[in-house]
Structures are given as C-alpha cells and as structure tokens.
C-alpha cells in the first residue's frame, strides 16, 4: 500500500505506520545499508553506491537486493561502511572496486569477504557483525541507532521504525502538562552543554500566558571536531522534527525554527526535504491529525558564527539582528523570539524526546546516573584508533570510551589528555580517566559536558599549543560585546602565544590565571564565562609544561616550532634519503647509506622529514643530540 496523499486523522496515521512496519517485515529482500552522511560521502560512499547499483543491475538482482542509503553509522574510521541484512555483516572501508565481489560472492554465494571485515588494530581479531566490533559493544545507541535503518529522505522508512508514534501518543492520550511531567520525570537535561533540565524549562514556557510561543532547534554546532548534531539531523531528521512537535504541543507553541548552520548542506537538505514531506502529508499546518494542534516549521540558516549557538544570540540572529547575546533574565522561556516565550533545545535533546514519550520516563531514567539520565553522543576524535560518534550511557568512564570503544591511542603512543566540551571545555589528564561522565563531575574537574566533543591527545601534543589553538578560536568567535571576553580572550591568546614562542616573561602564568578568572567571572554569556576553560584546565593539570616553555624555553612535546630543532639521530639513521627527498627547503645533507644532517639555518621546521622517516631517526628536542649536531659543526 502506498502512503495516502494526506493524513488527516490519528487513525489514518496509525494505519500508515502499521502498514509500513508490516511492509518492512514482509520485505524479504537483502538490504545493503550504505552509510552516506557527510563523513561517508567524504570517504567516497556515493561512488560505492553507484558501483553497487551497477553490479546489482549487471547481476539482474534488482528484485532481490535493495541498497539503502542512510546517514552516518557512527564509525567514521571505517567509512564508507556497509551493513548487509539479514546476515548483519559489517563491511568497512569499502571501495567501488569491491562492489562486484560483494554482489557476486556475499549476496549470491553467501560468502564473507574477509578483507572487508573489521580488524582490531590491537588484537588483530576480525569481527563480522556490528555488535562484535569493540567500537559498538559498549555503546547504547538509543538515539543514533535508527540511523542505520532509515533512508533520511524517505518518510516511509521513519514510519517503518514506528516513527511519529510518539506524536500520536502525546496528542491522543496525554495532556500538555502530562508530556511535560513525563519529560521532567525522565530527568532529561539539555544536551547542548549547560545541562538545564528540559522539563523545567518547558514548564516555565507553558506557564506563560502569551498566545504565540516559539520553539527553536539549536543545530548551530560549531565546536571544532564535533558533529553529533549534524549526524542526527542528516541521518534521522524526522526524529528531531517529531521531538519538536511534541515539545510544541507541550508548551503550546505554534511555530518552530530550526537554526542550522549553512556549513551543513546535507543536514539542511535532509531537514528541508523532511519538512516538505510533512507538509505534503498534512502533518504540519493547522489542526494536525484533527487533534486541534497546529504547527509550522521554519528553517533559519546560520552563517557560522560560534556565538549564535548561545540562546539569546541565536534569537537575535533569527530576528535579523546582529548575533550578540543579551542579559538573561528575562529568559527566552519567558521572553524570547520576537518577545514571545521561546524554548530552545539542542538537536540531540529534541531527538531524545520521542523516545521518552514512547518508552516512558521510567525506562529513560534507568539509564545513566542519579543526576544525569539517558545516553549522550560524543564525537570521539583526535589521536584515537576508532574515530567516530559514540553514544554511551551517562556515568561511563572516560577510560571506557577512550580505550574500550575508541581502541586506545594509535602508534603505541601514550595518552596525555582528553579535551571535552569543545573550545569552552577543558583538558583532562590521565589521572581523570576514571571520571564518570556526567554534567557535575566534568564541571568539577574543570571541564564541561558541552555538546559532546571529545578530542583525545597523545604524548606528542603540546598543551600550551592546544590552549593557544582554542584561544585563537575563541578570540575570533567572541562577539566582542563584553570587554572581558573580547579583550580577555585576545590578551590570553597573546600571553600564551608569547609563552609558546619562548618570549614569556616572569609573572605571565600568574597574570594568565588572574585574567582567566576575571574573564570567567565578568562575562555576560556562556561563551565568555567558559572561554577561560582551555587556559584554566591546562594550567591546572599541565602547569609544568607552561613552566618548561617559560623558564627553560623548551617544548617537552616537541611541537612549538620556535622552541624546537629538528635533527637526525646518527645511531638510527640508515641513510635512506627519504627525509632528504621530503625536505622542501633542501636543508638535509647526506648521501645514500650515510648519516644525514639537517642544516638548521635552512630548516623551516615543517616536520616533513619527521613524517618521512621510517626509522624514527628524526627527532625534535633531545639535548644530547643537539650537542652531537653542534659538535659536528
């Protein structure tokens, strides 16, 4: 049965959902699920899809095999990956050239292709199913999991997993107050970073007497290295829209905005398509499903200002003003967009709402810790074996995420720090690895939950350099309204830059500490109040590194180029010429099978030789070796 042109009643929608669920169950075709989120597409999944389709056509299997193009499956390291149903085979790093073999052998002859299976980089064991892969084992993918079952451009796919069932439940069997009560009881807290209890916020907006109220979905994800909101919006837009509609019903809003950054073209495309589809089916507009609930969606595209992720700045941006925060109170829930009560929630928060309505607050509250309920999606990036999006229950330790799920640090290097919460977060050292992840304990340790960025750093990372990087980001992204934030981030950056260049002065660290505290205290919005975190947390846990830069003019990790020298270790150099060839400035002298020497006058410290050397003979910063070099002169 085809979905009818218009769905006008609750009964009709229920029927559509049931039909789609039945159809999916009855569909005995084999399904090749190809992940094609932004990450997958970047790794060439679109070409893989073309190749698969061509091979299927060639083998005349169109009636027996279906290719489902889905959003991100989370395991970025393995992109592009394919999950084959019903065998649940997980193929990673698939190239278009593999298509023939997949169709010819796996589909036709039911033979597994061992070269495409996941291989554990540590143990070398292969895993054929998703659940057998350590990356997925400890995860609890209640929000992201459906990504692999849904073609985000097809609303029918969402119906097939029971989509919009939560909306029906809310509209037919729950009063708005009951919906809010359920969300409150679930203990759901804002996934955007601050962790404000969602239900409490909704209640505040519900109590306002205004006839017009708004809701906003915050998809202005701007943290470097974080992309969980993008993946959810790209991979399962209807889940977010359903959550928003339930929220709108609960607080009495009639219009909703999705504030999404224009740098997320695929997310914009998918969510636009999803809204169009809803419009076509009559699932948005006036008197939805005959339940007396009216709602419209709008998309507001952001131009990429980090500060517009802050509630009041986002409101200003949607209203057409400069994206600058204002004083709260009045809180947006009381006086927000166009002066009306407005609820702003993060993509992930909205995406979690349908689950809570469907499965109940009790079920949700069972997951997680006392203060932080449910699961949280983190984007695990940096010096880690299994890069990707991980969804874990709150309360899991950093160690479990980094070592069990993330597979540890590549190249046998040592763990140094993990940065959580994006630029406004902090760097946590090895001693904090057993910290359970929840809002309070992260804040206590000097970092924040943030929206879920998690950047792992190894021993070759310089913490002064990291602080400098984030401060540079923040001094660019500060709106510039408050002196504390505008001048504070600029001055902190200047001081840290000087330290990293060996120009630090006595008293710089104390000044940095004092300034950071003042920036944290005196700023108006969340950006400024957390802008000092990169400095405060690195100073708290890695002060010795700052001191090494300042006093000894030495960068222990060998990163800050003003403080390091590249040289060749004579005992390790095989004279292979690789480094010589890689050098862009011809600074390396040496003949085949003779020890090479780097001419420090010509060296621009680009690190190309270090990358090129296969024998770990190129080093930065080792005192005795410098002596050898200088002796040779």
């Amino acid at each position: 049965m085809k979905t009818p042109a218009k769905i006008k009643t609750v009964k009709a929608l229920e029927k559509v959902i049931q039909t789609q669920q039945r159809l999916r169950k009855a569909d005995k075709r084999q399904v090749l699920t190809v992940s094609a989120g932004t990450c997958g597409q970047a790794r060439g999944s679109l070409k893989v899809i073309d190749a698969l389709n061509a091979s299927i056509k060639k083998a005349k299997l169109q009636q027996k095999v279906k290719v489902r193009v889905t959003g991100c499956h989370g395991f970025c390291e393995a992109e592009p990956n394919i999950i084959i149903h019903p065998h649940d085979l997980f193929y990673q790093k698939v190239a278009p050239t593999h298509a023939e073999a997949i169709i010819g052998q796996t589909i036709k002859q039911k033979k597994t292709l061992p070269n495409l299976l996941y291989k554990d980089p540590v143990t070398g064991k292969t895993a054929s199913r998703e659940q057998a892969i350590p990356f997925y084992k400890k995860q609890q993918r209640i929000v992201l999991g459906d990504n692999a079952l849904i073609d985000p451009t097809e609303i029918d796919d969402y119906f097939a997993v029971g989509g919009y069932g939560a909306l029906i439940k809310a509209l037919t069997s729950m009063t708005p107050e009951k919906v809010i009560g359920e969300v409150k009881a679930s203990g759901l807290r804002g996934r955007g970073g601050a962790g404000f209890p969602t239900g409490v916020k909704w209640e505040l907006a519900r109590r306002q007497k205004d006839a017009t109220k708004y809701i906003i979905c915050n998809a202005d994800e701007g943290d470097p290295g974080a992309y969980m909101d993008r993946s959810l919006l790209e991979g399962n837009p209807h889940r977010v829209l359903e959550g928003m509609m339930i929220g709108a019903y609960a607080i009495g809003a009639t219009e909703g905005y999705i504030y999404v950054r224009d740098e997320y073209p695929l997310a914009v495309k998918h969510v636009t398509l999803a809204i169009e589809k809803l419009k076509k089916l009559g699932l948005v507009g006036t008197n939805i499903l005959g339940a007396g609930f009216s709602f419209e969606f709008h998309i507001a595209k952001g131009a990429g200002a980090f500060v517009c992720g802050e509630e009041t700045a986002m409101i200003a941006s949607i209203e057409g003003r400069v994206g600058e925060p204002r004083q709260r109170p009045p809180f947006p829930a009381v006086k927000g967009l166009f002066g009306k009560p407005t609820i702003i929630n993060n993509v992930e928060t909205w995406g979690t709402v349908p689950l809570i309505i469907n499965k109940g607050a009790k079920w949700f509250a069972k997951i997680g810790t006392d203060g932080s309920k449910g699961t949280k999606i983190f984007s695990l990036v940096g010096k880690i074996n299994n890069t990707g999006l991980v969804e874990v229950p709150m309360g899991i330790s950093l160690r479990e995420i980094i070592y069990d799920i993330g597979g540890g640090i590549p190249g046998g290097k040592k763990f140094k720090a993990v940065q959580t919460g994006g630029p406004s977060g902090g760097c946590l050292p090895k001693s904090k690895l057993d910290l359970p992840i929840d809002y309070e304990s992260l804040t206590k340790a000097g970092s924040i939950m943030g929206s879920g960025g998690m950047i792992v750093m190894d021993e070759k990372t310089c913490m002064v350099d990291i602080a400098k990087y984030f401060l540079n980001f923040l001094r660019d992204e500060s709106c510039g309204k408050c002196v504390s934030c505008r001048e504070g981030t600029q001055r902190m950056w200047e001081i840290v830059r000087d330290i990293s260049e060996g120009k630090g002065k006595e008293g710089d660290i104390e000044l940095l500490e004092e300034l950071a505290q003042a920036v944290k205290d005196a700023s108006m919005c969340g950006l400024g109040q957390t802008a000092a975190n990169p400095v405060l947390s690195t100073l708290r846990y890695f002060k010795d590194e700052f001191e090494a830069h300042l006093k000894d003019k030495r960068c222990p990790a060998g990163v800050c180029i003003n403080l390091i020298r590249y040289f060749v270790l004579p005992e390790k150099c095989t004279g292979c010429l690789a480094c010589k060839k890689s050098c862009p400035t011809d600074a390396i002298q040496g003949v085949l099978k003779g020890v090479h020497i780097i001419d420090l006058a010509k060296c621009i410290k680009c690190g190309a030789c270090l990358e090129a050397c296969k024998f770990e003979a190129v080093e930065t910063q080792r005192d005795e070796a410098i002596v050898i070099m200088e002796g040779a002169k």
Binding site: Q327, P329, L474, S478, C479, R486, Q490, E494, M524
Partner: protein, 227 residues
C-alpha cells in the same frame, strides 16, 4: 514594589528597575562606562558588575542590564567584584590609555600598573556612539563591524555615510576619544595623577573645596577651568 537585599540592606524598587538604577536611587555608587541614562542598556564595559546570590552559586552580573527580582541578594563591593572591575579597567586601559575617563577610573580603583602590551586604539567598543546615533539622533549612520578581536565601529562598507548629519553626537558621548588624559605618560601607561585625590575630585569637588587643598595638582580642575 519589589523588595530585595542590597549590601545587607533591605531595599525596595519599582518593577522594571535595574540593579544599577536601584543602587543609584539609594545612593550606592557603582562605576559605569557604557551606561548612559538616555540610551538603552548595553552591558559591554562590565564595570558595573555586582555579585548576586549567595554561597557557591553567587555570580557576577552587570547591574545595568539586570532587572531587580523579588528576594534577590546583591552585593556591590565584594572583593570578587572589585577584582573583576580592576581587571576590566586594566584591559581597557591597555587598549585606550589616552582616555581621560578610563584613566580617572583607574586612579579611582587604585590601579597603579598595567601588565598588557599597550595598544593605542582610542576605542573600547562601549557602543555609546552607535546607540546615540541610532536612538537619539535616529540616524543609524555607524555600527559595529565584525566580531571578536576584529571588531570595529564604522559606517556601512566604510564608505561616507549618506545618513550622517555630522551632528557630532558620537564624539560628544565617546569616553575614549574625546577627552584626552593630559597626565604624565598617559599615552602608554597609567597616569595616576589623580590617584592622590581620594575621593577623586572629579565628581565631588570644585576648585574651592579641593580635597588636597592643593588645587590643580592632578590636572583635572585645570582642564575644567580652561573650558
């Protein structure tokens, strides 16, 4: 009426008042720079910071933008407040050392040294000029450009504005570029010539009532006389 506590005193204020307005009403002094009674509140200079709340949840907010609430607990002069204000002054002084108003405030707060690299920009981005142009002159000839450390105030596209009537309101209200500090080494450092006046003569005293019985030493009143 809204009643709340300010510096341990029970005070009552009209609904809609800010903390700053209430403080002024009760004669409590809070320094300001980007505030002007005739313009909308901005909250950018962060000098009017006060501490609200108690215990670990106490935080600093700008009193010019914070509306009074029933049961609020406000302290206008805690160590935390003074420390933050001084740092804000130090930051502003390092970018606009020539501003008499900022130099005076620095003296008032006993700021005797400045630790950042001086950058003579003659602007602290308080936005007074932008607001007076918009709200009082109805011209909107100037506005902010860019953000963060690249922020500047200019006309659209840096072109000569067609709506600017050259009224001079922006220069009149500017705390940084109009009245220059004439004290020693003010261009690069803190002048502190007014430091010995306590309280500073600027607002409270005229020539005859000079605190130091030494009229003219700090230079402030000399300038006033010259007008």
């Amino acid at each position: 009426m809204i009643t709340f506590k300010m510096n341990n005193l029970e005070v009552s204020a009209e609904e809609g008042w800010t903390i700053l307005e209430t403080a002024k009403f009760f004669g409590l002094e809070i320094p300001t720079l980007c505030h002007n009674d005739g313009l909308s509140e901005y909250g950018g200079c962060r000098l009017c910071l006060v501490e609200i709340g108690e215990g670990p949840r106490a935080k600093l907010v700008s009193s010019c933008t914070y509306p009074v609430e029933e049961g609020l607990v406000v302290h206008t002069d805690t160590t935390r407040v003074i420390k933050a204000r001084r740092m804000m002054l130090e930051l502003m002084l390092s970018t606009a050392p020539g501003s008499k108003k900022i130099q005076d405030l620095a003296s008032k707060f006993g700021l005797t040294h400045q630790r950042f690299k001086p950058r003579d920009e003659e602007c602290v981005y308080c936005g007074l000029c932008v607001r007076i142009c918009d709200e009082q002159m109805d011209a909107r000839a100037i506005g902010f450009q860019n953000r963060g450390h690249n922020r500047k105030i200019s006309t659209p596209f840096d072109a000569r504005s067609e709506v600017c009537r050259l009224c001079g309101a922006c220069m009149y209200i500017c705390p940084a570029c109009s009245l220059r500090c004439q004290g020693p080494a003010a261009d690069t450092d803190i002048c502190n010539a007014c430091l010995t006046m306590e309280p500073t003569c600027l607002e409270e005293y005229d020539e005859l009532q000079c605190w130091m019985y030494d009229a003219g030493r700090c230079g402030t009143c000399v300038q006033e006389k010259g007008k």
